[in-house]
């Protein structure tokens, strides 16, 4: 019996009739003729070693759902995990817009056939510009790590200096990426957070700074959730030594916290994942970089910058690339670092989010997270053996809890919480050994008072 060849639904010309007609049209006897340029010694002998295919859609869905069933999502548990990937509510309209095939399946179109993408990303830049009080914001790059690393490289190019100082609490993963990205020409010095407050250690900063530094980088709020309450002091110190001030700010905090520009920062950067984008197991990140509208700074961006301009018709907005000649697309290795496909759809999504939230929404969101964070810190640190090392500071979205006094490790506590359907906070003991057995508990607007109370009672049981 001869089996009819498989016709693949994604490949119209896999149908034998179609394939034969195409071959005839180009005067080829076989497909193999088209590969004449690939010599035999480079050819794969035999077939690729891949699993047998699931040709029907039904079989594929069953297989994929079987795999996904082995995950327990944060919808099926009570999660307090943050540490760079945050559980914020995703409004339905965000998913509606980024699921539309017109946006989802488009790519690098030019302004005339993909006008919508240009306008939506220009609007994203503009909304972020209002949040940050800055006039220049990039089309998103990969993530907050990339944004920080590139912001530091920009500062080095602008100042002509080759050292950067990273002050305060920063995640080990981000430091790892930044160190590698700044090799080999830039040196990275790190100044840990102050022991008592968790904030940048101003005295140590003053003692460390010199005219060798291109930039002083800090996060506000920090990776550990601590708010710098006098950030202008830090910026002044950097400027006194001719260094630029680079500040990573969580966009979700900017309804209540001053944006970096308001306390003198030269470059703001960060991650946009919280702005209407799901956690996606870490697949939802996008990076922003913002500066004032100074050509010296604008010319140092590696990323695309979409700008607005009039068209030939009155009342029409047209869009295009601003200062394109600085990019590696235009001039290869002579461009600023490199640029490629990154996270445009998340930029569009973040724009939708900010449009939905509006000024009032962002203010209420920030205020609510501040209140929940304080409530959680107060209740949890009242448990026997549990302390909040940075209780004298104000925390946003992340709180550090030390459990040394319970005689248990964070790993043990998290295992016991997991058995109760709770994903406890990130274990900080390896990354911040100076904090002993501590965990980072993430609290956002999705957590109710009941959720926090449930964590308090579960933790009380676990450490009893």
């Amino acid at each position: 019996m001869t089996l009819r060849p498989v016709v693949y639904p994604y490949i119209p010309n896999s149908a034998p009739e179609a394939k034969a007609a195409m071959l005839a049209a180009i005067g080829a006897r076989s497909i193999d003729e088209l590969y004449a340029e690939i010599p035999d010694r480079l050819r794969l002998k035999g077939r690729l070693g891949l699993p047998a295919p699931l040709l029907s859609e039904a079989a594929l869905v069953r297989h994929m759902e079987g795999l996904l069933a082995r995950n327990t999502s944060t919808r099926e548990a009570l999660s307090f995990l943050g540490a760079g990937c945050y559980p914020h509510h995703v409004p339905a309209v965000c998913d509606e817009i980024n699921s539309r095939g017109e946006f989802l399946t488009a790519y690098a179109g030019e302004p005339y056939e993909d006008h919508g993408r240009f306008q939506a990303l220009f609007e994203y830049e503009s909304l972020m510009g209002e949040l940050l009080n800055m006039d220049v914001v990039n089309v998103p790059n990969y993530d907050g790590f990339q944004a920080a690393a590139t912001a530091l490289r920009m500062a080095a190019r602008i100042t002509g200096r080759t050292r950067v100082l990273i002050a305060g609490a920063v995640s080990a993963d981000k430091l790892s990426m930044v160190r590698d990205y700044l090799k080999p020409d830039l040196a990275v010095d790190v100044l840990p957070q102050a022991h008592k407050t968790g904030r940048v250690d101003v005295v140590a900063l003053e003692a460390t700074l010199s005219d060798a530094y291109a930039a002083v980088y800090f996060e506000n709020p920090s990776f550990l959730g601590v708010i710098e309450t006098e950030p202008a002091e830090l910026v002044v110190l950097a400027h006194r030594h001719g260094a630029l001030s680079v500040v990573a700010a969580d966009p979700l905090s900017l309804g209540v916290l001053k944006p970096p520009a308001d306390y003198g920062a030269d470059i703001a950067c960060g991650d946009i994942q919280g702005l209407g984008i799901h956690q996606w197991f870490g697949g939802g990140h996008g990076g922003y970089i913002a500066t004032h509208d100074d050509p010296v700074f604008v010319h140092e961006f590696p990323s695309r910058l979409f700008g607005v301009a009039p068209t030939a018709v009155p009342g029409e907005y047209g869009f295009g690339d601003v200062a394109y000649e600085r990019t590696s697309f235009a001039i290869r290795e002579e461009g600023k670092e490199w640029v490629g496909t990154a996270a445009a759809l998340w930029g569009i999504t973040a724009g939708v989010y900010l449009a939905l939230m509006g000024p009032q929404g962002m203010t209420e969101l920030g205020a609510g997270i501040l209140q929940r964070s304080r409530y959680a810190m107060g209740r949890l640190s009242a448990l026997p053996g549990v302390t909040a090392p940075f209780a004298t500071s104000t925390s946003f979205k992340e709180i550090v809890l030390n459990v040394d006094g319970t005689g248990k490790t964070v790993a043990e506590i998290n295992r016991a919480l997991l058995a109760r359907g709770i994903f406890g906070g990130k274990d900080l003991s390896a990354e911040f050994p100076e904090l002993g057995q501590s965990l980072l508990v993430c609290i956002t607007e999705v957590h109710t008072q009941g959720d926090i109370d449930r964590l308090v009672s579960a933790l009380a049981e676990v450490i009893a």
Binding site: L44, R47, L48, M64, W338, V352, G358, M362
Partner: protein, 525 residues
């Protein structure tokens, strides 16, 4: 009733033209789009007004000047903008050469939207994420088979990020051997600019090889370029011309002979799946773009996903953690002393990793080979149609077959008519399709790059060729139509001057208002 006349030869397309204002112009005081959850009164009473008690040095004085809009109005605005955009779902998207615009199966998007992935946190206990770790691991195994390499990292966020990761591993490899005098990277002009640009960012001097008279990278030029300073060769094959370099293994041997490493840019792999592999040509590293060859949607320019594939010799330097399997469970192996570290947060773009895995599962070994063969068949068919058009040519490799794409030239048409390749692109928008010239510099004069993947039928390719034929005809007979295009698009020709003039450019609405003298109290500051 009369019979409806047959359709004309070309579609009477008109793009959506909603004449949509900028979002900020739609703001109405007091409107709300979505409400954040309220804080419970008891909680609020327990802690008081935390925001209000922040010190003045950090408390925001006035709310950000975001627009105020009802939910339907936000939705409507963005749906209108989406309609003014062309996705693969509804255009014959063969005009964005090098981008591998293929069908991204809807079923894969639908599966990925499950909360079992979307609501998964990357730091969850490994026992609660066995499904996604299995998918990452299995895709690594598949890409090992497809590339012939020994190890795969799916952490890079896209193709250029994978090139970066590969360059970083090359740097770490030489450093670990104390081989620190190697400060040069060699690439070719038809390789993606990120190869040159990543190498430069990583501290290397870049040497770029130009093609020989037949369009192949010049082997003699390579021999003259290699030395004890050569860290690596970063090369694409087939290059953007669609010409496969049959002596690619000789290139590798020359570089290996000088002690350098070889990294194969496999962004253009769509025509060679199951035919030839990086390993077969002797490469040490390669990378794939999951959003190109492996079908994940392009998202207007990301999120994408990249795969870095390496031999055993490079494995110690892979980004950490590596997703591994101990025979029972999948786990994150983070104990890797020589690793270059992180190249992005966590482990990669998980939803695209899932979509690429599902796509390969739906095709298998025979299906992947069918993808490659049909992509190549479609390309050679389209090339034949395009070369019948007056003024078009395909420089290099005369009379030879190409693989999955071709970089054409309109040099003759431009000489004859004064119309440039970019202008053909503007006019192509009037017919509802994309068109792309090439990366810079334009080594091929008046370039056009077309890549008709396996997703398109003969009728689709005929239609695209007919559009080009129509535009070429117009260039010769009524060039003004082309010169003043677009006519049927969302907007008309945009004034170019503001984009390169610091006094005029506006990257945000607030900058636009300021520079056009419209700054209002609501505009910021």
């Amino acid at each position: 009733m009369n019979r409806v006349e047959p359709k004309p030869a070309l579609r009477r397309f008109h793009q959506a033209r909603w004449d949509e204002p900028i979002l900020f112009e739609l703001s109405q005081p007091g409107q709300r789009g979505v409400l954040p959850p309220e804080v419970e009164p008891a909680l609020s009473a327990a802690v008081g007004d935390v925001a209000g008690s922040l010190p003045a040095g950090i408390r925001r004085d006035a709310p950000p000047a975001l627009p105020e809009m009802a939910q339907l109005h936000v939705l409507r605005h963005y749906v209108r903008l989406s309609q003014e955009n062309l996705g693969v779902d509804f255009n014959i998207d063969v005009g964005q050469g090098t981008c591998t615009m293929k069908y991204s199966p809807k079923v894969n998007d639908q599966i990925a939207r499950s909360h079992k992935l979307a609501a998964l946190h990357p730091l969850q206990d490994e026992s609660t994420v066995q499904g996604i770790l299995a998918i990452i691991y299995k895709l690594q195994e598949m890409l090992k088979a497809i590339s012939g390499m020994d190890h795969v990292s799916l952490q890079p966020g896209a193709g250029s990020a994978a090139i970066w990761a590969n360059v970083s591993m090359i740097r770490a490899y030489h450093a670990a051997r104390g081989d620190t005098a190697r400060d040069e990277v060699i690439t070719t002009i038809f390789s993606h600019p990120s190869n040159a640009a990543c190498a430069k960012t990583a501290g290397y001097k870049v040497i770029t090889l130009y093609p020989d008279a037949d369009g192949y990278p010049d082997l003699d030029a390579l021999k003259a370029a290699v030395s004890e300073r050569t860290a690596a060769l970063l090369i694409t094959n087939p290059e953007d011309t669609g010409i496969f370099n049959p002596r690619i293994d000789e290139f590798v041997n020359v570089v290996h002979g000088a002690g350098g490493l070889c990294s194969y840019d496999q962004a253009n792999a769509n025509g060679i799946l199951g035919i030839t592999r990086a390993r077969d040509a002797g490469f040490d590293l390669c990378h794939f773009n999951l959003h190109k060859t492996f079908s994940t949607p392009h998202g207007c320019g990301g999120p994408a996903a990249g795969a870095s594939c390496v031999t055993d010799a490079l494995a110690p330097f892979l980004p950490r953690p590596v997703v591994a399997f101990d025979g029972q469970s999948f786990f994150l192996d983070d104990d890797r002393a020589q690793s270059i570290g992180k190249v992005r947060p966590f482990y990669g773009v998980a939803q695209n990793i899932l979509k690429a895995y599902a796509w390969i599962m739906s095709l298998g070994a025979d299906g992947l080979r069918e993808v490659a063969e049909i992509a190549v068949l479609n390309n050679n068919y389209l090339m034949q149609k395009v070369l019948e058009i007056r003024g078009a040519s395909a420089p290099y490799a005369k009379g030879k077959r190409r693989l999955e794409q071709v970089r054409y030239s309109w040099e003759q048409l431009s000489t004859d008519t004064g119309i440039h390749s970019e202008e053909i692109g503007y006019r192509a928008a009037d017919f509802g399709t994309h068109y792309w010239t090439s990366h810079h510099p334009y080594v091929v004069p008046e370039p056009m790059t077309l890549e008709p993947t396996e997703s398109y039928s003969q009728a689709d390719l005929d239609e695209y060729a007919a559009i080009l034929r129509q535009i070429a005809e117009e260039a010769y007979t009524q060039p003004e139509i082309v010169r003043t295009a677009p006519h049927n698009s969302t907007v008309h020709k945009t004034q170019p001057e503001p984009f390169d003039d610091p006094a005029q450019w506006a990257v945000t609405w607030r900058a636009y208002l300021r520079k056009t003298g419209q700054m209002k109290a609501a505009g910021g500051d």
